[in-house]
Protein backbone atom coordinates (compact mmCIF):
# COMPACT_ATOMS: atom_id res chain seq x y z
CA UNK A 1 0.00 0.00 0.00
CA UNK A 2 1.30 3.44 -0.91
CA UNK A 3 1.32 6.09 1.79
CA UNK A 4 -0.90 8.92 0.58
CA UNK A 5 0.70 12.32 0.27
CA UNK A 6 -0.22 14.81 2.99
CA UNK A 7 -2.44 17.58 1.53
CA UNK A 8 -0.57 20.86 1.08
CA UNK A 9 -3.42 22.61 2.86
CA UNK A 10 -2.22 21.05 6.09
CA UNK A 11 0.61 23.52 6.49
CA UNK A 12 1.65 22.37 9.95
CA UNK A 13 1.10 19.36 12.18
CA UNK A 14 -2.24 19.64 13.88
CA UNK A 15 -2.46 20.59 17.54
CA UNK A 16 -5.14 18.14 18.62
CA UNK A 17 -4.72 15.63 21.48
CA UNK A 18 -3.41 12.15 20.64
CA UNK A 19 -6.21 10.00 19.24
CA UNK A 20 -8.53 12.94 18.60
CA UNK A 21 -10.79 12.49 15.58
CA UNK A 22 -10.36 16.09 14.38
CA UNK A 23 -7.00 15.23 12.78
CA UNK A 24 -8.61 12.68 10.47
CA UNK A 25 -11.53 14.97 9.69
CA UNK A 26 -9.14 17.86 8.89
CA UNK A 27 -7.24 15.62 6.55
CA UNK A 28 -10.36 14.42 4.75
CA UNK A 29 -11.63 17.99 4.29
CA UNK A 30 -8.21 19.14 3.06
CA UNK A 31 -8.02 16.29 0.55
CA UNK A 32 -11.47 17.01 -0.80
CA UNK A 33 -10.84 20.76 -1.16
CA UNK A 34 -7.56 20.13 -2.97
CA UNK A 35 -8.98 17.46 -5.22
CA UNK A 36 -11.86 19.75 -6.13
CA UNK A 37 -9.48 22.66 -6.83
CA UNK A 38 -11.02 24.81 -4.11
CA UNK A 39 -7.98 25.49 -1.94
CA UNK A 40 -7.53 29.02 -3.25
CA UNK A 41 -11.14 30.15 -3.08
CA UNK A 42 -12.31 28.65 0.20
CA UNK A 43 -13.23 30.62 3.30
CA UNK A 44 -13.79 28.69 6.52
CA UNK A 45 -15.79 29.86 9.51
CA UNK A 46 -14.81 28.60 12.93
CA UNK A 47 -16.15 29.67 16.27
CA UNK A 48 -15.04 28.43 19.67
CA UNK A 49 -13.90 24.98 20.73
CA UNK A 50 -11.21 22.47 19.75
CA UNK A 51 -12.04 22.99 16.08
CA UNK A 52 -10.36 26.39 16.29
CA UNK A 53 -6.97 24.79 16.69
CA UNK A 54 -7.02 24.19 12.93
CA UNK A 55 -6.92 27.90 12.15
CA UNK A 56 -3.11 27.93 12.21
CA UNK A 57 -2.53 24.52 10.61
CA UNK A 58 -5.14 24.34 7.85
CA UNK A 59 -4.21 26.76 5.11
CA UNK A 60 -7.43 28.41 3.91
CA UNK A 61 -8.78 31.86 4.73
CA UNK A 62 -10.51 31.76 8.12
CA UNK A 63 -12.83 33.84 10.21
CA UNK A 64 -13.27 33.08 13.87
CA UNK A 65 -16.84 33.80 14.94
CA UNK A 66 -18.24 34.27 18.43
CA UNK A 67 -19.15 30.98 20.11
CA UNK A 68 -21.97 29.35 18.16
CA UNK A 69 -22.20 31.97 15.41
CA UNK A 70 -20.05 30.37 12.71
CA UNK A 71 -23.04 29.74 10.45
CA UNK A 72 -24.18 33.39 10.57
CA UNK A 73 -20.63 34.57 9.80
CA UNK A 74 -20.32 32.05 6.98
CA UNK A 75 -23.63 33.25 5.56
CA UNK A 76 -22.36 36.84 5.61
CA UNK A 77 -19.32 35.81 3.55
CA UNK A 78 -21.17 33.58 1.10
CA UNK A 79 -23.90 36.11 0.41
CA UNK A 80 -21.44 38.80 -0.64
CA UNK A 81 -18.93 36.43 -2.25
CA UNK A 82 -21.02 33.66 -3.80
CA UNK A 83 -18.03 32.56 -5.89
CA UNK A 84 -16.18 31.44 -2.76
CA UNK A 85 -16.49 28.01 -1.22
CA UNK A 86 -17.67 28.69 2.33
CA UNK A 87 -17.83 26.12 5.10
CA UNK A 88 -18.30 26.04 8.83
CA UNK A 89 -16.37 23.61 10.96
CA UNK A 90 -17.67 23.29 14.50
CA UNK A 91 -18.01 20.93 17.39
CA UNK A 92 -21.37 19.76 18.68
CA UNK A 93 -21.41 22.09 21.69
CA UNK A 94 -20.63 25.09 19.54
CA UNK A 95 -23.01 24.34 16.68
CA UNK A 96 -25.86 22.60 18.51
CA UNK A 97 -26.02 24.19 21.97
CA UNK A 98 -25.21 27.91 21.89
CA UNK A 99 -25.33 27.99 18.09
CA UNK A 100 -28.37 25.85 17.33
CA UNK A 101 -30.40 28.82 16.16
CA UNK A 102 -27.73 30.00 13.71
CA UNK A 103 -27.08 26.41 12.53
CA UNK A 104 -30.74 25.61 11.96
CA UNK A 105 -31.59 28.94 10.35
CA UNK A 106 -28.79 28.55 7.83
CA UNK A 107 -30.44 25.23 6.94
CA UNK A 108 -33.96 26.70 7.00
CA UNK A 109 -32.89 29.40 4.51
CA UNK A 110 -31.08 26.67 2.54
CA UNK A 111 -27.98 28.84 2.55
CA UNK A 112 -25.50 27.66 -0.04
CA UNK A 113 -22.79 26.78 2.47
CA UNK A 114 -21.37 23.54 3.87
CA UNK A 115 -21.54 22.74 7.58
CA UNK A 116 -19.25 20.18 9.14
CA UNK A 117 -20.31 19.29 12.66
CA UNK A 118 -18.06 17.12 14.78
CA UNK A 119 -20.00 14.99 17.26
CA UNK A 120 -17.82 13.70 20.07
CA UNK A 121 -20.57 13.87 22.66
CA UNK A 122 -18.92 16.44 24.93
CA UNK A 123 -17.50 19.95 25.15
CA UNK A 124 -13.84 19.14 24.48
CA UNK A 125 -11.95 22.40 24.89
CA UNK A 126 -13.45 23.20 28.28
CA UNK A 127 -12.75 19.77 29.71
CA UNK A 128 -15.46 17.29 28.87
CA UNK A 129 -18.76 18.79 29.98
CA UNK A 130 -22.12 17.51 28.79
CA UNK A 131 -23.06 18.52 25.23
CA UNK A 132 -26.43 18.35 23.46
CA UNK A 133 -25.22 15.12 21.84
CA UNK A 134 -24.09 13.40 25.07
CA UNK A 135 -25.68 9.96 25.24
CA UNK A 136 -28.26 9.06 27.85
CA UNK A 137 -26.41 7.78 30.90
CA UNK A 138 -23.02 9.03 29.65
CA UNK A 139 -20.79 10.41 32.39
CA UNK A 140 -19.30 13.83 31.80
CA UNK A 141 -17.86 16.44 34.16
CA UNK A 142 -21.30 18.08 34.41
CA UNK A 143 -23.23 14.81 34.47
CA UNK A 144 -21.02 12.87 36.88
CA UNK A 145 -23.68 10.23 37.53
CA UNK A 146 -24.47 9.89 33.85
CA UNK A 147 -26.76 12.08 31.72
CA UNK A 148 -30.24 11.97 33.23
CA UNK A 149 -32.53 12.64 30.31
CA UNK A 150 -35.45 13.28 32.68
CA UNK A 151 -33.58 16.45 33.63
CA UNK A 152 -31.64 17.30 30.48
CA UNK A 153 -33.94 16.09 27.73
CA UNK A 154 -32.90 13.59 25.09
CA UNK A 155 -29.68 13.81 23.07
CA UNK A 156 -30.04 16.13 20.09
CA UNK A 157 -30.00 14.47 16.69
CA UNK A 158 -29.25 17.25 14.19
CA UNK A 159 -29.76 14.94 11.22
CA UNK A 160 -33.33 14.30 12.34
CA UNK A 161 -33.83 18.04 12.85
CA UNK A 162 -32.64 18.81 9.32
CA UNK A 163 -34.22 15.90 7.54
CA UNK A 164 -37.54 17.65 7.08
CA UNK A 165 -35.92 20.79 5.69
CA UNK A 166 -35.58 21.55 1.98
CA UNK A 167 -31.78 21.43 1.97
CA UNK A 168 -29.31 20.10 -0.59
CA UNK A 169 -27.33 17.44 1.21
CA UNK A 170 -27.36 15.74 4.62
CA UNK A 171 -25.17 12.91 5.84
CA UNK A 172 -23.61 11.45 8.95
CA UNK A 173 -20.19 9.82 8.81
CA UNK A 174 -17.56 8.69 11.25
CA UNK A 175 -13.81 8.41 11.65
CA UNK A 176 -14.01 5.25 13.77
CA UNK A 177 -12.43 3.02 11.12
CA UNK A 178 -10.58 3.23 7.81
CA UNK A 179 -13.76 2.11 6.09
CA UNK A 180 -15.74 4.87 7.81
CA UNK A 181 -13.11 7.44 6.83
CA UNK A 182 -13.34 6.43 3.18
CA UNK A 183 -17.11 6.83 3.28
CA UNK A 184 -16.81 10.13 5.13
CA UNK A 185 -14.64 11.46 2.34
CA UNK A 186 -17.38 10.66 -0.17
CA UNK A 187 -19.91 12.48 2.01
CA UNK A 188 -17.74 15.53 2.41
CA UNK A 189 -17.03 15.61 -1.29
CA UNK A 190 -20.76 15.35 -2.02
CA UNK A 191 -21.42 18.19 0.42
CA UNK A 192 -18.92 20.55 -1.25
CA UNK A 193 -20.13 19.48 -4.69
CA UNK A 194 -23.65 20.39 -3.61
CA UNK A 195 -22.49 23.87 -2.64
CA UNK A 196 -20.36 24.47 -5.72
CA UNK A 197 -23.21 23.44 -8.01
CA UNK A 198 -25.53 25.86 -6.20
CA UNK A 199 -27.47 22.99 -4.68
CA UNK A 200 -28.12 24.64 -1.33
CA UNK A 201 -27.23 23.86 2.24
CA UNK A 202 -25.11 20.79 2.95
CA UNK A 203 -24.40 19.35 6.37
CA UNK A 204 -22.17 16.45 7.36
CA UNK A 205 -22.16 15.35 10.98
CA UNK A 206 -19.10 13.31 11.92
CA UNK A 207 -18.91 10.89 14.88
CA UNK A 208 -15.49 11.40 16.35
CA UNK A 209 -13.54 10.10 19.36
CA UNK A 210 -12.29 12.26 22.23
CA UNK A 211 -10.07 9.84 24.17
CA UNK A 212 -8.81 12.62 26.44
CA UNK A 213 -12.18 13.64 27.81
CA UNK A 214 -13.79 10.23 27.47
CA UNK A 215 -10.88 8.98 29.59
CA UNK A 216 -10.55 5.97 27.31
CA UNK A 217 -7.78 4.58 25.14
CA UNK A 218 -8.16 5.23 21.43
CA UNK A 219 -9.05 1.57 20.93
CA UNK A 220 -11.77 1.73 23.59
CA UNK A 221 -12.98 5.03 22.14
CA UNK A 222 -13.44 3.52 18.70
CA UNK A 223 -15.26 0.55 20.23
CA UNK A 224 -17.49 3.00 22.11
CA UNK A 225 -18.42 4.72 18.86
CA UNK A 226 -19.10 1.39 17.20
CA UNK A 227 -21.14 -0.11 20.04
CA UNK A 228 -22.79 2.83 21.79
CA UNK A 229 -22.79 5.91 19.57
CA UNK A 230 -23.69 4.56 16.13
CA UNK A 231 -26.92 2.90 17.32
CA UNK A 232 -28.11 6.32 18.52
CA UNK A 233 -26.61 8.28 15.61
CA UNK A 234 -26.75 5.96 12.57
CA UNK A 235 -24.49 6.69 9.59
CA UNK A 236 -25.57 7.30 6.02
CA UNK A 237 -26.69 9.87 3.48
CA UNK A 238 -30.12 11.23 4.31
CA UNK A 239 -30.62 13.90 1.68
CA UNK A 240 -28.87 13.89 -1.72
CA UNK A 241 -29.40 16.56 -4.36
CA UNK A 242 -32.32 17.88 -2.37
CA UNK A 243 -34.09 14.52 -2.29
CA UNK A 244 -34.65 12.44 0.81
CA UNK A 245 -33.01 9.01 0.65
CA UNK A 246 -34.31 5.75 2.13
CA UNK A 247 -31.55 5.75 4.76
Amino acid sequence: MVEKRIPQLLVEDNKFCPGCGHGNINRVVAEVLEEMGLADTTVGSLAVGCACLMMDTFGVDWIQAPHGRAAAVGVGVKRVRPECCVFTYQGDGDSLAIGLSETLYAAIRNENITAIIVNNGIFGMTGGQMAPTTLSGQRTTTSPKGRDVSITGQPLNIVNQCRQLPIGYLARGSVASAKDINKLKKYIRAAFETQMSGGGYSLVEVLSPCPTNWKMSLEKSLEHIENDVKPIYPLGEFIKKGEKTDA
Partner: protein
Amino acid sequence: MPLQLMKGNHALSEAAVRAGCRFFGGYPITPQSEIPEYLSARLPQSGGIFLQAESELAGINMVYGAAAAGFRAMTSSSGPGFSLLQEGISYIASAELPAVIVDVQRYGSGLGDISQAQSDYFQATKGGGHGDYKCIVFAPASVQESADLVVEAFDKAEEYRNPCIILSDASIAQMVEPVLLPEERGIDPDKAWAVRGKHGGEFKRVTSTMYYIEDFDAYIKNKYDTMAHNEQRWESVHTEDADVVLVAYGISSRICKEAVSEARAQGIRLGLIRPITLWPFPVNAFSGLEHVKAFMTVELSALPRLDEDVKLACEMRVPVRHFLGGVSIPDSSVITEAAIAILKEQR
Protein backbone atom coordinates in the same frame (compact mmCIF):
# COMPACT_ATOMS: atom_id res chain seq x y z
CA MET B 1 -29.62 66.66 -6.46
CA PRO B 2 -32.65 68.52 -5.06
CA LEU B 3 -33.84 68.49 -1.47
CA GLN B 4 -36.04 65.55 -0.63
CA LEU B 5 -38.46 65.09 2.20
CA MET B 6 -37.44 62.01 4.15
CA LYS B 7 -37.86 60.29 7.47
CA GLY B 8 -34.64 60.04 9.49
CA ASN B 9 -34.52 56.26 9.23
CA HIS B 10 -35.08 56.36 5.47
CA ALA B 11 -32.47 59.05 4.87
CA LEU B 12 -29.96 57.08 6.91
CA SER B 13 -30.71 53.92 4.93
CA GLU B 14 -30.48 55.59 1.53
CA ALA B 15 -27.24 57.33 2.49
CA ALA B 16 -25.79 54.01 3.66
CA VAL B 17 -26.36 52.48 0.24
CA ARG B 18 -24.89 55.54 -1.44
CA ALA B 19 -21.87 55.22 0.83
CA GLY B 20 -21.32 51.76 -0.60
CA CYS B 21 -23.08 49.58 1.96
CA ARG B 22 -23.83 46.28 0.25
CA PHE B 23 -24.90 44.09 3.13
CA PHE B 24 -27.50 44.46 5.85
CA GLY B 25 -28.45 41.71 8.27
CA GLY B 26 -30.93 42.65 10.95
CA TYR B 27 -34.07 42.01 12.92
CA PRO B 28 -37.25 44.05 13.33
CA ILE B 29 -37.64 46.24 16.40
CA THR B 30 -39.40 49.58 16.81
CA PRO B 31 -38.36 52.37 16.26
CA GLN B 32 -35.68 51.25 13.79
CA SER B 33 -37.78 48.98 11.57
CA GLU B 34 -37.94 51.48 8.70
CA ILE B 35 -34.24 50.80 8.18
CA PRO B 36 -34.55 47.08 7.34
CA GLU B 37 -37.83 47.80 5.55
CA TYR B 38 -36.22 50.39 3.30
CA LEU B 39 -33.09 48.37 2.68
CA SER B 40 -35.03 45.20 1.87
CA ALA B 41 -36.20 46.97 -1.28
CA ARG B 42 -33.21 49.23 -1.91
CA LEU B 43 -30.17 46.99 -1.45
CA PRO B 44 -31.12 44.44 -4.12
CA GLN B 45 -31.49 47.35 -6.59
CA SER B 46 -27.81 48.15 -6.16
CA GLY B 47 -26.54 44.59 -6.17
CA GLY B 48 -26.46 44.41 -2.40
CA ILE B 49 -27.78 41.83 0.00
CA PHE B 50 -30.55 42.30 2.54
CA LEU B 51 -31.07 39.45 4.93
CA GLN B 52 -33.64 39.39 7.71
CA ALA B 53 -31.78 37.55 10.42
CA GLU B 54 -33.31 35.15 12.91
CA SER B 55 -32.04 37.36 15.74
CA GLU B 56 -29.82 40.33 16.39
CA LEU B 57 -27.11 37.83 17.32
CA ALA B 58 -27.25 36.34 13.84
CA GLY B 59 -27.58 39.78 12.23
CA ILE B 60 -24.39 41.22 13.70
CA ASN B 61 -22.49 38.04 12.89
CA MET B 62 -23.65 38.11 9.29
CA VAL B 63 -22.29 41.66 9.25
CA TYR B 64 -19.05 40.31 10.72
CA GLY B 65 -18.79 37.81 7.85
CA ALA B 66 -19.65 40.30 5.11
CA ALA B 67 -17.24 42.86 6.59
CA ALA B 68 -14.47 40.26 6.78
CA ALA B 69 -15.11 39.59 3.10
CA GLY B 70 -14.34 43.27 2.41
CA PHE B 71 -17.84 44.67 1.89
CA ARG B 72 -19.34 47.68 3.64
CA ALA B 73 -21.89 46.12 5.97
CA MET B 74 -24.38 47.42 8.49
CA THR B 75 -26.98 46.39 11.02
CA SER B 76 -29.43 48.40 13.05
CA SER B 77 -31.42 47.85 16.17
CA SER B 78 -32.84 49.52 19.24
CA GLY B 79 -32.42 49.13 23.01
CA PRO B 80 -33.11 45.45 23.75
CA GLY B 81 -31.74 44.38 20.38
CA PHE B 82 -28.71 46.65 20.75
CA SER B 83 -27.82 44.69 23.88
CA LEU B 84 -27.75 41.52 21.80
CA LEU B 85 -25.39 43.09 19.28
CA GLN B 86 -22.67 43.75 21.83
CA GLU B 87 -20.98 40.35 21.60
CA GLY B 88 -20.60 40.69 17.87
CA ILE B 89 -19.43 44.30 18.07
CA SER B 90 -16.66 43.22 20.44
CA TYR B 91 -15.59 40.50 17.99
CA ILE B 92 -15.64 42.87 15.02
CA ALA B 93 -13.56 45.40 16.97
CA SER B 94 -11.21 42.65 18.10
CA ALA B 95 -10.75 41.44 14.52
CA GLU B 96 -10.23 45.09 13.47
CA LEU B 97 -12.91 45.11 10.82
CA PRO B 98 -15.06 48.02 9.65
CA ALA B 99 -18.81 47.91 10.20
CA VAL B 100 -21.60 50.34 11.00
CA ILE B 101 -24.12 49.67 13.75
CA VAL B 102 -27.18 51.85 14.24
CA ASP B 103 -28.96 52.12 17.57
CA VAL B 104 -32.22 54.03 17.39
CA GLN B 105 -32.64 54.52 21.11
CA ARG B 106 -35.92 53.84 22.85
CA TYR B 107 -36.95 54.38 26.42
CA GLY B 108 -36.25 52.21 29.44
CA SER B 109 -34.37 49.13 30.50
CA GLY B 110 -35.72 45.66 29.80
CA LEU B 111 -38.49 45.80 27.22
CA GLY B 112 -39.09 49.48 27.96
CA ASP B 113 -41.18 51.50 25.56
CA ILE B 114 -40.83 52.65 21.99
CA SER B 115 -40.81 56.36 22.80
CA GLN B 116 -37.68 58.43 22.19
CA ALA B 117 -34.90 58.28 24.75
CA GLN B 118 -31.17 58.66 25.19
CA SER B 119 -30.56 55.92 27.73
CA ASP B 120 -28.08 53.79 25.75
CA TYR B 121 -25.30 56.37 26.08
CA PHE B 122 -23.04 54.25 28.28
CA GLN B 123 -23.60 51.12 26.25
CA ALA B 124 -22.61 52.90 23.05
CA THR B 125 -19.76 55.03 24.35
CA LYS B 126 -18.19 52.94 27.08
CA GLY B 127 -18.04 49.64 25.21
CA GLY B 128 -21.25 47.66 25.59
CA GLY B 129 -19.41 44.42 24.94
CA HIS B 130 -16.46 42.82 26.67
CA GLY B 131 -12.82 43.77 26.46
CA ASP B 132 -10.57 46.61 25.35
CA TYR B 133 -12.30 48.37 22.49
CA LYS B 134 -14.08 51.58 21.58
CA CYS B 135 -16.39 52.53 18.76
CA ILE B 136 -16.65 55.98 17.26
CA VAL B 137 -20.18 57.01 18.16
CA PHE B 138 -21.95 59.56 15.96
CA ALA B 139 -25.09 61.29 17.24
CA PRO B 140 -27.23 62.82 14.47
CA ALA B 141 -29.47 65.72 15.45
CA SER B 142 -31.41 66.00 12.19
CA VAL B 143 -32.50 64.01 9.20
CA GLN B 144 -29.66 65.62 7.24
CA GLU B 145 -27.12 64.48 9.80
CA SER B 146 -28.63 60.98 9.80
CA ALA B 147 -27.60 60.82 6.16
CA ASP B 148 -24.27 62.64 6.46
CA LEU B 149 -23.02 60.82 9.53
CA VAL B 150 -23.72 57.34 8.21
CA VAL B 151 -21.41 58.12 5.28
CA GLU B 152 -18.84 59.44 7.72
CA ALA B 153 -19.27 56.33 9.85
CA PHE B 154 -18.52 54.01 6.93
CA ASP B 155 -15.45 56.03 5.97
CA LYS B 156 -14.11 56.21 9.51
CA ALA B 157 -14.87 52.53 10.12
CA GLU B 158 -12.72 51.66 7.13
CA GLU B 159 -10.01 54.20 7.94
CA TYR B 160 -9.50 52.79 11.42
CA ARG B 161 -10.79 49.28 10.70
CA ASN B 162 -13.10 49.56 13.65
CA PRO B 163 -16.87 49.43 14.09
CA CYS B 164 -18.69 52.79 14.24
CA ILE B 165 -22.03 53.39 15.90
CA ILE B 166 -24.78 55.77 14.90
CA LEU B 167 -26.65 56.62 18.10
CA SER B 168 -29.97 57.97 16.93
CA ASP B 169 -33.26 58.18 18.79
CA ALA B 170 -36.92 57.65 18.01
CA SER B 171 -37.51 61.36 17.36
CA ILE B 172 -34.72 61.87 14.86
CA ALA B 173 -35.55 58.50 13.30
CA GLN B 174 -39.26 59.12 12.87
CA MET B 175 -39.30 62.79 11.98
CA VAL B 176 -39.41 64.09 8.43
CA GLU B 177 -37.24 66.94 7.18
CA PRO B 178 -35.75 68.05 3.88
CA VAL B 179 -32.48 66.29 3.17
CA LEU B 180 -29.78 66.61 0.55
CA LEU B 181 -28.61 63.06 -0.07
CA PRO B 182 -24.95 62.23 -0.67
CA GLU B 183 -23.67 61.22 -4.08
CA GLU B 184 -23.62 57.52 -4.87
CA ARG B 185 -20.17 55.98 -4.45
CA GLY B 186 -18.56 52.91 -5.95
CA ILE B 187 -17.46 49.92 -3.91
CA ASP B 188 -14.02 48.53 -3.20
CA PRO B 189 -14.34 45.11 -1.55
CA ASP B 190 -11.10 43.43 -2.68
CA LYS B 191 -8.98 44.81 0.11
CA ALA B 192 -5.71 43.14 1.04
CA TRP B 193 -7.16 41.98 4.35
CA ALA B 194 -10.48 40.71 3.01
CA VAL B 195 -11.13 36.98 3.13
CA ARG B 196 -12.06 35.66 -0.30
CA GLY B 197 -9.82 32.62 -0.60
CA LYS B 198 -6.04 32.93 -0.54
CA HIS B 199 -5.66 32.95 -4.36
CA GLY B 200 -2.15 31.55 -4.24
CA GLY B 201 -1.03 33.84 -1.41
CA GLU B 202 -0.78 33.37 2.32
CA PHE B 203 -3.98 32.30 4.02
CA LYS B 204 -5.63 34.95 6.15
CA ARG B 205 -6.96 34.54 9.65
CA VAL B 206 -9.66 36.95 10.78
CA THR B 207 -9.75 36.71 14.55
CA SER B 208 -8.59 38.79 17.50
CA THR B 209 -5.59 40.66 16.08
CA MET B 210 -3.92 40.38 19.50
CA TYR B 211 -2.72 36.92 18.46
CA TYR B 212 -0.57 38.35 15.72
CA ILE B 213 0.53 41.79 16.93
CA GLU B 214 3.59 42.28 19.10
CA ASP B 215 3.20 44.56 22.12
CA PHE B 216 -0.52 44.55 21.56
CA ASP B 217 -1.32 46.67 24.64
CA ALA B 218 0.67 49.60 23.31
CA TYR B 219 -0.60 49.03 19.78
CA ILE B 220 -4.27 49.04 20.66
CA LYS B 221 -3.97 51.90 23.13
CA ASN B 222 -2.26 53.97 20.48
CA LYS B 223 -5.02 53.15 18.01
CA TYR B 224 -7.76 54.38 20.32
CA ASP B 225 -5.72 57.36 21.54
CA THR B 226 -5.28 58.42 17.92
CA MET B 227 -9.01 58.14 17.30
CA ALA B 228 -9.75 60.08 20.50
CA HIS B 229 -7.35 62.81 19.42
CA ASN B 230 -8.45 63.11 15.80
CA GLU B 231 -12.14 62.41 15.69
CA GLN B 232 -13.84 64.75 18.16
CA ARG B 233 -16.75 66.56 16.56
CA TRP B 234 -19.04 69.07 18.13
CA GLU B 235 -20.98 72.25 17.57
CA SER B 236 -20.62 75.18 19.97
CA VAL B 237 -23.38 77.76 20.20
CA HIS B 238 -22.69 81.05 22.01
CA THR B 239 -20.24 79.46 24.44
CA GLU B 240 -17.77 82.35 24.10
CA ASP B 241 -19.52 84.52 26.69
CA ALA B 242 -21.95 82.04 28.27
CA ASP B 243 -22.59 81.88 32.00
CA VAL B 244 -24.31 78.51 31.73
CA VAL B 245 -23.53 76.07 28.94
CA LEU B 246 -25.99 73.35 28.09
CA VAL B 247 -24.58 70.06 26.83
CA ALA B 248 -26.88 67.89 24.77
CA TYR B 249 -26.84 65.69 21.69
CA GLY B 250 -29.43 64.40 19.23
CA ILE B 251 -33.01 65.54 19.68
CA SER B 252 -32.27 67.16 23.07
CA SER B 253 -29.71 69.45 21.50
CA ARG B 254 -32.32 70.97 19.21
CA ILE B 255 -34.55 71.87 22.13
CA CYS B 256 -31.52 73.26 23.92
CA LYS B 257 -30.61 75.38 20.92
CA GLU B 258 -34.10 76.82 21.03
CA ALA B 259 -33.64 77.48 24.75
CA VAL B 260 -30.38 79.31 24.04
CA SER B 261 -32.00 81.73 21.63
CA GLU B 262 -35.00 82.24 23.93
CA ALA B 263 -32.69 82.92 26.89
CA ARG B 264 -30.48 85.26 24.87
CA ALA B 265 -33.59 87.22 23.90
CA GLN B 266 -34.20 87.69 27.64
CA GLY B 267 -30.59 88.78 28.16
CA ILE B 268 -29.51 85.51 29.79
CA ARG B 269 -26.13 84.30 28.56
CA LEU B 270 -26.86 80.67 27.78
CA GLY B 271 -24.67 78.56 25.50
CA LEU B 272 -24.66 75.04 24.12
CA ILE B 273 -22.11 72.38 23.34
CA ARG B 274 -23.59 69.75 21.07
CA PRO B 275 -21.36 66.68 20.84
CA ILE B 276 -21.59 65.15 17.36
CA THR B 277 -19.24 62.36 18.37
CA LEU B 278 -20.06 60.90 21.77
CA TRP B 279 -16.93 58.78 21.64
CA PRO B 280 -14.50 60.31 21.35
CA PHE B 281 -16.22 62.78 23.65
CA PRO B 282 -15.36 66.31 22.45
CA VAL B 283 -13.29 67.34 25.47
CA ASN B 284 -11.63 69.99 23.30
CA ALA B 285 -14.94 71.84 23.20
CA PHE B 286 -14.50 72.57 26.91
CA SER B 287 -11.15 74.29 26.69
CA GLY B 288 -11.10 78.09 26.93
CA LEU B 289 -14.39 78.17 28.79
CA GLU B 290 -13.03 79.40 32.13
CA HIS B 291 -15.76 82.06 32.21
CA VAL B 292 -18.53 79.44 32.38
CA LYS B 293 -20.21 79.29 35.78
CA ALA B 294 -21.94 75.94 35.32
CA PHE B 295 -22.73 73.25 32.79
CA MET B 296 -26.11 71.59 32.50
CA THR B 297 -26.58 68.38 30.56
CA VAL B 298 -29.97 67.74 29.03
CA GLU B 299 -30.77 64.11 28.37
CA LEU B 300 -33.90 62.12 27.61
CA SER B 301 -33.24 59.45 30.19
CA ALA B 302 -34.30 58.61 33.72
CA LEU B 303 -30.72 58.53 34.98
CA PRO B 304 -27.93 60.94 34.08
CA ARG B 305 -25.35 59.54 31.69
CA LEU B 306 -23.84 62.34 29.67
CA ASP B 307 -23.03 64.33 32.80
CA GLU B 308 -20.21 61.96 33.73
CA ASP B 309 -18.35 62.79 30.54
CA VAL B 310 -19.01 66.51 31.03
CA LYS B 311 -17.62 66.32 34.57
CA LEU B 312 -14.50 64.68 33.20
CA ALA B 313 -14.23 67.13 30.32
CA CYS B 314 -14.32 70.18 32.62
CA GLU B 315 -12.16 68.35 35.16
CA MET B 316 -14.70 69.04 37.92
CA ARG B 317 -13.67 72.70 38.10
CA VAL B 318 -17.19 73.90 37.42
CA PRO B 319 -20.51 72.59 38.75
CA VAL B 320 -22.20 70.17 36.37
CA ARG B 321 -25.95 69.77 36.74
CA HIS B 322 -28.32 67.64 34.77
CA PHE B 323 -31.80 68.06 33.41
CA LEU B 324 -33.57 64.79 32.71
CA GLY B 325 -36.54 64.25 30.49
CA GLY B 326 -37.77 60.72 30.27
CA VAL B 327 -40.72 59.68 28.18
CA SER B 328 -41.84 63.24 27.51
CA ILE B 329 -39.82 65.80 25.62
CA PRO B 330 -39.33 68.96 27.67
CA ASP B 331 -40.33 72.36 26.38
CA SER B 332 -37.40 74.69 25.77
CA SER B 333 -38.82 77.20 28.28
CA VAL B 334 -38.48 74.60 31.05
CA ILE B 335 -34.83 74.11 30.16
CA THR B 336 -34.26 77.87 30.21
CA GLU B 337 -35.88 78.09 33.65
CA ALA B 338 -33.67 75.29 34.95
CA ALA B 339 -30.60 77.06 33.61
CA ILE B 340 -31.66 80.34 35.26
CA ALA B 341 -32.12 78.50 38.56
CA ILE B 342 -28.58 77.13 38.30
CA LEU B 343 -27.27 80.60 37.54
CA LYS B 344 -28.98 82.01 40.65
CA GLU B 345 -27.53 79.21 42.73
CA GLN B 346 -24.03 80.17 41.53
CA ARG B 347 -24.36 83.83 42.50
